[in-house]
């Protein structure tokens, strides 16, 4: 056992049988050092949520082992549950209870004394700016308030390890920023965090290490800087009137970039280190060959570009469209969990 590790997983496999069997995790490995933040990136359906659910003892793996602070998630699941906090995209709060009641309920179920639970509720409501709303039923809360309450409830036992499953998905920019600040404070306090996200920006801001998943496996890992270097820093998008023109331009531009341009319909994408210079080269080359373009844009790489670059294809359409909506209930959640 490595004492520096807060989270370690080796060869995790999880197969769901729902009509057809899906390998949600297919040999997943992970190491998270104590006191660090690791971002788990991947599209819907890549297995992020399944990994978090196994590490937080909600699911048991079909194969492989995992430890939290040296405790086995299967054999010592009760001890693991005392060591972790879990907050997620579904903001699992009881809508009919008030914010204060929600926190006190979790405190009691974590076996704090009544007095300690009451004090904890006051403290957490204050810290998460929910004091004024504390005695209102949670169903009257905004999306951002629910996430804050969910996160507050997960911190009742002051867990050394915290799992955040897409904590800001579906939030407006202001709420997202608020939540990021809270998470940063926690990390400053020494909490180890495993964060799943679809946003590169989020991982970039919060995580020291990034692990990229696809189809239940890790396909890349490193610091944000390392991954970006791997990606190139800018994406140039050039659009044309037809895909034949785009094809022609693609063969003309191949020598300008280390990686060949990727064509999607009548759009070309080039991932490059030096955006402005290459953009000028692109214009010169196309102008010289008499190929007319409709538009040209430079942008920062997105998570989609990470995937494009790592896997050679975009995040799969049907997976991306299976975006989970809480209201759709369990079925939708199960799909997204895979």
């Amino acid at each position: 056992m490595n004492n520096d590790l807060a989270i370690s997983a080796r060869g995790l496999v999880k197969v769901f049988n729902r009509g057809q069997s899906v390998r949600a995790l297919d040999g997943f490995d992970l190491e998270v050092k104590r006191g660090t933040v690791t971002g788990l990136l991947g599209p819907n359906g890549s297995g992020k949520t399944t990994a978090v659910r196994i590490l937080s003892t909600i699911l048991s793996p079909d194969e492989g082992t995992a430890e939290i602070m040296g405790l086995d998630v299967v054999r010592q699941s009760d001890a693991v549950r005392r060591t972790i906090g879990l907050a997620g995209q579904y903001a699992t709060v009881d809508e009919n209870l008030t914010g204060r009641e929600n926190i006190r309920m979790v405190a009691q179920l974590t076996h704090l004394t009544k007095a300690a639970g009451r004090a904890k509720a006051d403290e957490l409501l204050e810290r998460f700016k929910l004091t004024d709303a504390g005695d209102r039923p949670a169903k009257t809360y905004s999306g951002g308030m629910r996430r804050r309450l969910d996160l507050a409830a997960s911190l009742v036992a002051e867990p050394p390890v915290l799992f955040l499953d897409e904590p800001t998905t579906g939030l407006d920019p202001q709420s997202r920023n608020d939540l990021w600040e809270i998470i940063e404070e926690l990390v400053d306090g020494g909490t180890t965090v495993l964060l799943t996200t679809q946003y590169l920006e989020e991982a970039d801001r919060l995580a020291q290490d990034i692990v990229v998943m696809e189809k239940g496996r890790v396909i890349a890992k490193g610091t944000p800087a390392e991954l970006k270097a791997q990606l190139g820093t800018t994406v140039i998008e050039v659009s044309f009137a037809s895909h034949e023109l785009a094809d022609r331009a693609s063969s003309l531009l191949t020598q300008l970039t280390p990686k060949p341009p990727i064509r999607e319909g009548s759009l070309l994408e080039l991932t490059v280190e030096n955006g402005p210079k290459v953009a000028a080269d692109v214009l010169r080359t196309l102008d010289g060959a008499g190929v007319e373009l409709l538009g040209l844009a430079l942008r920062e790489p997105s998570l989609d570009d990470v995937f494009l670059s790592l896997t050679g294809h975009r995040t799969e359409e049907e997976v991306a469209n299976a975006a989970p909506a809480k209201r759709q209930g369990r079925k939708a959640k199960k799909e997204s969990a895979q």
């Binding site: 972790i84 879990l86 699992t92 709060v93 009881d94 309920m105 179920l109």
Partner: protein
């Protein structure tokens, strides 16, 4: 490592574990009851349905159903009580199914609480609700002519007998709540089970009026036994049937052990 993690390292004794399981169950029960109190409409309408049954059978069908020894309303009320507490089990199925869909169960599963507490807290909250509905129904019954002809003590004993049975039954419907894909389906799955067992019993009409094969079923199936036991205690006289009272407790014990084992097993397996 934090203090809380160190506590986890200690091995808890069986007694301590049971104590915690009981405390956890109490917390979840409280949560379920609070949630229902926050939706007064649900309480109102769930009480309304049994009241409609009382009025319907007392005044619409009652005149056409001859019964021996007591007035029809005195024959009917024990049956309606049993039917009502059995239908209370639908609330168990729906409630659990909704919790599953909302993801709250996920939070519970990641907490160091007893595995059985989510289910036990649900069935216990529904038991409390059943008692509440029984009180309302008794008042309505008294208003339409029902009398505790065998004494108040026996009436209360009759209520206890059926409540114990209904509690065991609600563990069975907890399994439906865990297996159903959503609350609507949980409800739809519950009715085809509840209608035959509550109506094909002596609840509303004497079993002697039914064809032979149905008579056998109506007498021996669990709800039929509970109806006979309840009527034995509440009406007495020609309806006295002490063996039915004994068999009710046997059924309740068997169903409770079987259903709770199956329910906890499906709860563990839910992914």
């Amino acid at each position: 490592m934090t203090a809380s993690a160190e506590v986890a390292m200690e091995k808890l004794s069986v007694i301590e574990r049971t104590m915690w399981a009981f405390r956890d169950m109490r917390v979840v029960t409280w949560r379920n009851l609070m949630a229902s109190l926050r939706i007064p409409e649900a309480i109102f309408f769930s009480s309304l349905q049994p009241i409609m049954f009382v009025l319907l059978f007392r005044y619409v069908f009652g005149g056409a159903i001859p019964v021996a020894g007591v007035s029809y309303v005195n024959f009917l009320m024990p049956g309606i009580f049993v039917q009502t507490v059995c239908f209370g089990a639908v609330a168990t199925a729906i409630g659990l199914s909704e919790d599953m869909a909302k993801g709250l169960i996920e939070r519970f599963r990641a907490l160091p609480m007893a595995r059985s507490a989510v289910l036990a807290g649900r069935t216990t909250a529904d038991l409390v609700r059943n008692i509440f509905v029984l009180v309302i129904l008794t008042v309505v019954g008294l208003a339409v002519g029902f009398r505790m002809v065998n004494g108040v003590v026996n009436f209360i004993l009759g209520c206890i007998v059926m409540i114990v049975f209904a509690y065991a039954l609600s563990w069975g419907f907890a399994i439906i709540g865990l297996k159903a894909p959503n609350a609507e389906t949980a409800q739809l799955m519950s009715f085809p089970i509840l209608f035959p067992i509550t109506f094909a019993s002596g609840a509303f009409a004497p079993v002697e009026s039914m064809p032979g094969w149905l008579q056998w079923f109506a007498i021996h199936q669990p709800v039929g036994v509970v109806v006979a036991a309840t009527r034995s205690l509440m009406c007495g006289g020609p309806y006295t049937n002490t063996s039915a009272v004994g068999w009710t407790f046997v059924w309740a014990a068997v169903l409770l052990v079987g259903f709770s084992w199956l329910a906890v097993r499906s709860y563990r397996k839910v992914d």
